[in-house]
């Protein structure tokens, strides 16, 4: 079942899934992010206990932290500052969620841009 908000993830869920849900919400809340990219089915999602977070991949690191990769679709804005803003917001929101000690690097991949004339369903 797809997760659209961190509130839908139970506290008993895995750290991996909770990180992914917070990262997804943080990315979508960043101005300039149009959506998350899920076109490569099965590759750009985090799945755990029947729940699925699209557009974010969380991978365990040897030190117990998780590397978070966010795959996004951007508006026609400066992309590097946008990626930095997404990273900062993800880190901030994960800290607020009390998971900062489990967070490793946050990779941001701009997979597509949406021109003003494009209408995305």
């Amino acid at each position: 079942m797809p997760v659209s908000s961190p509130a839908e993830v139970p506290a008993s869920a895995s750290v991996r899934l909770r990180l992914a849900a917070v990262a997804r919400a943080a990315a979508l809340a960043t101005r300039g992010v149009v959506g998350l990219d899920t076109r490569r089915a099965g590759m750009r999602m985090t799945v755990s206990a029947g729940l699925r977070v699209d557009g974010v991949v969380c991978a365990a690191m040897p030190d117990g932290r998780y590397q978070v990769s966010v795959h996004l679709v951007a508006a026609m804005v400066a992309l590097r500052p946008l990626a930095d803003a997404v990273r900062a917001r993800v880190e901030r929101d994960i800290a607020i969620a009390g998971l900062a000690d489990r967070l490793g690097p946050v990779d941001v991949a701009v997979e597509d841009v949406q021109a003003p004339s494009e209408a995305r369903p």
């Binding site: 400066a78 590097r80 690097p105 990779d107 941001v108 701009v110 841009v113």
Partner: protein
């Protein structure tokens, strides 16, 4: 009618690399690029650069369309049946490295326009847009004008037999 031909030398991994070589280069790209740090990396997909180039090229006055004749014909067919690649990608090829990008453009120019002037404006606009949005330095924009457009070309098509 290629405007320029010069060796492409974008920094970072090239699209034509051997798989093993590309893999090792990708590793170094992650570690050493200006878009990477201890906090994470930033990746801008080639398709993103392609789309920016395409939009930038279409902004230039005198450019009627992008792509070669065959690509435009096939694009018209695939568009009519709702399949096929993104129309905006047509006529654009990019090589993207860590800091630099090289662009090949194939365009159809409106008859009567100055091709050297259009090519110059294309280079300026593509360089500005790609640089502004991605931070990449565009090392070259190779422009190929492969057709001319005459106003009224569409009118030459056969009229519909039914209403």
């Amino acid at each position: 009618m290629s405007e320029t031909q010069s060796p492409r030398t974008p920094a970072g991994p090239g699209a034509a690399s051997e798989p093993a070589e590309a893999s090792s280069k990708a590793t170094s790209r992650r570690g050493n690029g200006p878009l990477s740090s201890e906090l994470g990396s930033t990746t801008i997909a080639d398709a993103v650069v392609t789309k920016i180039v395409s939009i930038a090229a279409r902004e230039v006055g005198g450019v009627h369309d992008l792509g070669g004749g065959a690509a435009r014909t096939i694009g018209g067919v695939t568009r009519s049946v709702g399949v096929g690649p993104d129309e905006r990608m047509r006529g654009v090829a990019v090589e993207v490295g860590d800091r630099e990008a090289a662009v090949d453009l194939t365009v159809v120019v409106e008859y009567g326009e100055s091709i050297p002037e259009i090519a110059k404006t294309l280079r300026e606009n593509v360089t500005r847009r790609v640089g502004g949005m991605t931070g990449l330095t565009v090392t070259e924009v190779n422009v190929t004008v492969n057709d001319l457009y005459f106003p009224g070309d569409e009118a030459a098509a056969e009229p519909a037999r039914v209403e």
